[in-house]
Symmetry: C2
Subunit: 600 residues, 2 copies
Amino acid sequence: MRVTSSFPLGTLRDTPSEAEIISHQLLLKGGYIRRVNSGIYAYMPIMLRVIEKISTIIEKELNNAGCSKLLLPQLHPADLWKKTQRWEGYTAGEGIMFNLKDRQGKEFGLAPTHEEVITNIASEIINSYKQLPLCYYQIQTKFRDEIRPRFGLMRSREFIMKDGYSFHSSKEDLSCFYEKMEKAYENIFKNCGLDTVGVDADSGSIGGAASKEFMVTADAGEDSILFTESGSYAANIEKAVSFPSKEVPLKILDPEWIETPNQKSIVDICQKNNLDASQIVKVVIFVAKFEDKSEVPILACVRGDQHINEVKLFNLINKKYNPNLIHLKIVEDNAIVENNLTNFPLGYIGPDINDETIKTNSNWAKSWVRIVDYSASCLSNFVSGGNKFNFHKVFQNYSFINKQFLVSDIRNAKKGDYISPESNETLKEKRGIEIGHIFQLGQKYSEKLNAKFSDKDGQLKYLWMGCYGIGVTRIAQAAIEQNHDDNGISWPIQISPFEILIIPTNIKDPNQKKLTEEIYKEFKSNKIDVLLDDRDERAGVKFKDADLIGIPFQIIIGRDSINKEVEFLCRSSKSKLKIASKDLLEKFISESKVMYNKNS
Amino acid sequence: MRVTSSFPLGTLRDTPSEAEIISHQLLLKGGYIRRVNSGIYAYMPIMLRVIEKISTIIEKELNNAGCSKLLLPQLHPADLWKKTQRWEGYTAGEGIMFNLKDRQGKEFGLAPTHEEVITNIASEIINSYKQLPLCYYQIQTKFRDEIRPRFGLMRSREFIMKDGYSFHSSKEDLSCFYEKMEKAYENIFKNCGLDTVGVDADSGSIGGAASKEFMVTADAGEDSILFTESGSYAANIEKAVSFPSKEVPLKILDPEWIETPNQKSIVDICQKNNLDASQIVKVVIFVAKFEDKSEVPILACVRGDQHINEVKLFNLINKKYNPNLIHLKIVEDNAIVENNLTNFPLGYIGPDINDETIKTNSNWAKSWVRIVDYSASCLSNFVSGGNKFNFHKVFQNYSFINKQFLVSDIRNAKKGDYISPESNETLKEKRGIEIGHIFQLGQKYSEKLNAKFSDKDGQLKYLWMGCYGIGVTRIAQAAIEQNHDDNGISWPIQISPFEILIIPTNIKDPNQKKLTEEIYKEFKSNKIDVLLDDRDERAGVKFKDADLIGIPFQIIIGRDSINKEVEFLCRSSKSKLKIASKDLLEKFISESKVMYNKNS
């Protein structure tokens, strides 16, 4: 391709101010993407080439694994999503599905994911166990009405994903295929030239059993990964489990009541009363809103030096109740307290607060759901709220409190925690960008959509399902987070828009022009992905653009053209070599081979 | 690919009743598409292969023509469409753009076309004439909230299109590029194995000057094409111009008034009064609704044996007025008449009806816009409504009517019409399916979006634009309309999901199995696009499916396997040949070559 005739570059001089992280800045500055609206971008030709290279790598690996590529619609009828009880959760309140009515007034969602549509199709296509396993996938633009779109393609409202869905006759076959996909994913990310780590993950609103995320490690990542140095454990903080450090034993205080005027934070209470945070039980109030519009007040208890993990808490409540949980909201607003509660000294609440505090005319269920994290449940005595303004109290343990508690893990693991009570291994933390996610869905969707197959013995059974996502546009941006320097991007060669860039420094010089054309033709005829910057621009401008757009190799054709000599540059190592033009192709082939094999 | 492990077929036994035309029936029955909702389909793996082959043909041709592929967003902010004054027309009333509000309440449309977005980007990227011409294109799912989705992918609500947009420094350069695109389009359709015809076309709501449609001729087509046998003229009926047969001269009748009790149709009046339809001027009432909510009453006159062309009428009115015309509605409803008109004997209206018939309290403008088609304007005397119930009148000509008339072409051309007053050539008619459309947009969008470039002399000027569409999914279905028989589809090899299908009749026979694998491997290693139907099914089932899905060549491996002999079938000619397996590859290569070259 030639820059002047068919491949215009759109590099910018200045770094756009709206971009917070380096990869977003470089995508804009390099002319890869252009902003059309908040979280909505145009992929310019140079970007589309990156997307297509990533897509090709994914397709090759998945086709080898026996998956079939199809293309599903983006407009989904609400009816289907209502059958799986996901319509409300995805469209109301914090729901992220764009939705609209057609000219007949029928409701549709703009698909962020395709479990409903594919399961419905599978229910029509699959009759017999003989057709199984079966895995369909697609690469397609998805939509999310993000609360706060940001970081360019990381959290955008339109983005490209590969999503795949597998169907099985048994749980065992699903597990087996899931492992095959895990391997395929590792290959895909290696073949994209990325450093990734697989971590245990929360299954989120997709639902199901096992689930694993693939993370590109990068400081700009939105996710926290907790892992052990030995590699024995790695998990997303949303999902990670651990054992916290031992609590400092509390010597029973006399009197039972502690006056704590205006001491609302754990830090305050500890300082003013010579307590350790691990001796306190923190009580946090939530209200859970369900699909059937019911609302349930939640009282969540955790040791004072720990933090509540809202993802774990959400999943726990969602599992406990039948209607889907739509939203879990922390109660810290006085108006909400006044509307629903009485005699309720917010900031001084203890685990034993009475059900009578819930007003009879409130929408809320009339008794507290009390949940205690393991870290707090094992304390033999502790300090907590006295249910009275400006007072805390010493509790002996939970047994004397005449209330029912659900004991579970609702706490954030954190770095420094132990992975087991016996082990000395502690957790480390790093940031990651999620680029892939695989799930064992089980029979959740096939049950709701009545997707059955006839088994060997002629019995009708629900299909077992897995689902498998990859963020295609995210991979592109994550690759930049991992591969850049002060001058710009330095693409892994596997997903670079071109393999090599030819830069004649002065296109008006007949010697340069002639040699440029010779080299360009030689590379083209050898099927090498080559871009020729044939603009009539100053050499400095071209060099700067070359470093910015980040193609892994550059050929600089300058004054030595007359001797048939050029310079061969490697973008990542910054190595520069004077070389006879006749040796150029061979040099490129050997150097690029090394680069292609580095990660795979 | 193998049917059992990675390429499941989903053929149906029965023809789905919802499909009206053969191509839609075969797409469903052959398992190519599955209906998800009205006008919304899933493209199954076998369909996606067809789509990808068509896309590849398009890309190759456009890249050669110097166009650059990119990908624009599907969600478009309303603001941009308001700047070009298309938001209202596309979303209100008969508007076909799905639209929604995001969580912030901002309006977005789901793009049916991309003039706004690309022109906005071009305005930021293009500074100088040196960067021109420039043409961007994309292949993408588009959305249309069709009033009546039907015919499968022909008129669906989600469909795949190639849309391209070119930018130029002059009208001449645009014309020149437009011709280049015309040639590229002809190549693309030939390379898809289609018979197409290029016709003059209406520019529709896109706007602009010259425009040409490319039609696949097929009886099921929704469009009417008028053309001359010699090839000197071809146009969509929406746009076609012609000269009607001469009128039968009217001998002046005495008296001037003709009593026509209950004679409301042209046929009635002619029969009862011994008149010819060409002696009558038919007056049709419309109301034009504009973007600024204003409403204007229209009185359209045409010769009695001719029909009004609402597309021409719409364009004429839209051009005449400044706010965009949203909707043109024929007035034939008594309620509308009563609300807006007084003393108005519908069915007996003449061209001289008074402006005082418009009620003072009506929303309508207070004088009639009177438009006369050429066919009626040249009549020296004629019969028309007497503006009095049950009476018509003889008019001498228009001059004596003290009103202003706009004389224009607002009439449907029809078969049998002459193409010029001097020529003996008359128009023929056939049906067509529109699969491509090219437009010279001129400066319409660049003016509204302030997209300028600096010319050679340093002056800022508006960009000249062209736009170019191809219906990718439509091509697939149109190809079936042109290529099928009673047993199913018969794909042009260029866009067939596979080039050849191998059918072992009994997969359990070890000889067959061995020979099948040998042939499959030989074809695969020669990079031939081959599908192996390795299902354990009866031969009859496989043959039926093979004819239905329509891959152009079949290899049938049966009992003669033992002698290394197989059958080689051509789907379209139904020719069948017994052949030694060692000669198979050569045979396929020579036969397929003929087929590839047939159209191109």
